[in-house]
């Protein structure tokens, strides 16, 4: 069964460092998303990406965040200068066609900022 894969599974970084989280969406999918879940909190939308550009972003997704699809398979989330409050589980998700809520999520990347 096709799946969304994310790396790394866990990353520990120092405050102020840059972090890149990587995702390989399902191969025929066209819509890509990043969500995050702070421990004990709700899953929150960060950004959606379609046709090589951001289609929507939340207030959380400020200038410290960026996304990129550098080749035909990877989808990355970059945090330029991490803060303690960026510690969370980051989920990548993808969708084949249409803007529905039936997303396929990866297993997540746990980011710990010290």
């Amino acid at each position: 069964e096709p799946e969304v894969t994310q790396t790394p599974s866990h990353q520990v970084t120092q405050m102020g460092q840059e972090v890149i989280l990587r995702c390989v969406p399902i191969s025929n999918h066209l819509y890509f998303y990043w969500y995050r879940q702070i421990l004990g909190q709700k899953v929150e939308f960060l950004v959606s990406f379609y046709n090589n550009e951001i289609s929507e972003k939340s207030e959380i997704f400020d200038d410290q965040f960026s996304v990129e699809r550098p080749d035909g398979s990877n989808f990355t989330l970059k945090i330029r200068s991490t803060k303690l409050e960026d510690s969370a589980m980051y989920f990548c998700a993808s969708l084949d066609t249409g803007n529905t809520g039936e997303l396929f999520f990866g297993e997540g990347s746990r980011l710990t900022v010290l």
Partner: protein, 106 residues
């Protein structure tokens, strides 16, 4: 602003003991209500989509229903493998509730 509230926060059932999880929502317009299952340390897994009041969807021991203000996830004769956190979300991009953590004891 879309809002989703789920209750109870946690639910402990004996195997075979049926129950329901509640999802109350406030939206300016509903374009879809979604149920997901999340196992510990994993990403959410899609279960159901509901679009209009009165709609019902079923999958094995789970049935989701929708009214104009809330949705219920009914679990009939649950098994230990049904233990997970069940998330409700509305619209796109998805706005999630905090979830109900279900434990089914053998």
């Amino acid at each position: 602003e879309d809002q989703v509230t789920q209750s109870p926060e946690a639910l402990r059932l004996q195997e075979g003991e049926s129950s329901s999880l509640n999802c109350s929502y406030t939206v300016s317009g509903l374009r879809g209500l979604f149920w997901y299952r999340q196992d510990p340390g994993k990403g959410p897994e899609f279960l159901f989509t509901l679009y209009s009041a009165g709609e019902e969807k079923e999958k094995e021991r789970l049935k989701a229903t929708l009214t104009k203000k809330e949705s219920f996830l009914h679990i009939t004769a649950p098994k230990p493998e049904d233990s997970a956190t069940y998330l409700c979300a509305v619209n796109t991009p998805l706005v999630f509730g905090k979830g109900t953590r279900l434990s089914v004891i053998a």
